[in-house]
Symmetry: C2
Subunit: 239 residues, 2 copies
């Protein structure tokens, strides 16, 4: 039904703004090819990326209930985007309320990822942040069959990764060097080659639960054990 609702398919260059903050949205965007991100500008015009979207992801489905955007949307690479008018979603939801809940589910998976990102920025050091991001992206790429064994394409610059992880491009460079030196993974020429997945997962405290839709992922990430317990210290927080 969604496929039939596509009103337009658009090919677009890399590094192009697709939609602006506060803008009214009348259709949802679905990524068919390429990497798309959502970001929030600060006053100086610098930005924090709040989500990265891969093929198969809705970028702004939340714009359907919200009607307006609270952030910008831009491509990171050349991309192929499908547009689905909100009116079509109205019809689907009205006719099949349970499908409405399924769409809702999609946006909630997104929100769960937002929470992980909040956690990542609030609690982790640079090395762990990057490790988490790389592990998360691996899981997502794997799930959509874009990972070749332990490697996958990541067409982001070091600045982009910095904007994701709340670090400067300079520091990202040093972190990637460290990850390479520790033989955990190699990021080069737009490709990530993971040499030690258990270590990457552990370092990034990556919890694959929210991504596990396929049993394959469960096996791949079997290494991710954890059992946190709240501790009562003088400083409840120490990153």
């Amino acid at each position: 039904m969604l496929e039939d609702s596509i009103s337009e398919v658009e090919r677009i260059d890399g590094r192009r703004v697709v939609a602006r903050e506060r803008q009214e949205v009348t259709r949802a965007v679905l990524v068919l090819e390429g990497h798309v991100c959502r970001y929030i500008d600060d006053r100086r015009g610098l930005r924090q990326i709040v989500a990265v979207h891969l093929p198969g992801d809705f970028v702004d489905l939340h714009g359907y209930p919200l009607r307006t955007l609270d952030h910008n949307v831009a491509t990171l690479t050349p991309a192929l985007l499908a547009h689905i008018p909100h009116a079509a979603l109205d019809r689907i939801v009205a006719a099949h309320p349970q499908l409405g809940v399924k769409l809702w589910f999609q946006t909630m998976a997104d929100a769960a990822m937002h929470r992980r990102w909040t956690f990542r920025l609030g609690r982790m050091k640079s090395l762990a942040r990057v490790a988490h991001f790389l592990a998360e992206t691996y899981a997502r790429m794997y799930a959509i069959n874009r990972a070749d064994g332990t490697s996958y394409p990541l067409p982001l610059t070091q600045s982009d990764i910095g904007e994701v992880c709340g670090l400067t491009s300079v520091h990202i460079n040093r972190v990637l060097r460290e990850l390479r030196a520790r033989e955990i993974c190699t990021v080069r020429a737009g490709m990530v080659e993971i040499t030690n997945l258990p270590e990457l997962v552990k370092l990034g405290q990556f919890d694959p639960t929210i991504f596990i839709s396929t049993p394959i992922l469960t096996r791949i990430f079997a290494c991710a054990g954890k059992s946190p317990r709240r501790q009562h210290a003088q400083y409840r927080y120490s990153p």
Copy 2:
């Protein structure tokens, strides 16, 4: 209809865990009184708070489409909670799909706040983070009529605020001292007294848009002007 769906009202102490990560949820929790938070533990058992909920907020409505939680829920203060079984939501959504979209909207407002938090942690310095949090909470308290002029109750310890802002309680203490010294606001004895709202909003780069449901808020936060422009520097990012 929601009111009629309440299956139970529960009074609960402060600092109690209400629900645990990975737990299946079968009912939604609505805050009637008190402060409730959602948080993610790290391996060491320390935590990052990813959301704070005030009276009138759904805490885990996202558990309705997701069916399981990706974080913990705990009270910060004694609270009064209403429980609404998912089965009741099923009936509402089936009978009135447009009400389903309204519920969806609620969870998306939440997601929008998540994105602001990501931005806050990724891009802002300590003073700005705390200022943003205080301004945001003021807007929310004002909207539910819990603010008395320029002051409102904030029954969080400095450690709690640290867990929200990704800082230690020690540093929160210094930040609050600084805010007081600059005569922007005073946080003491569980109360926030804002002495210079425009400055607080500016410092925290607070954007009230996503909270503006009432015209009153628009007026109160008229001081929040902004017009960011993407800048192309060697370092796209510098916090």
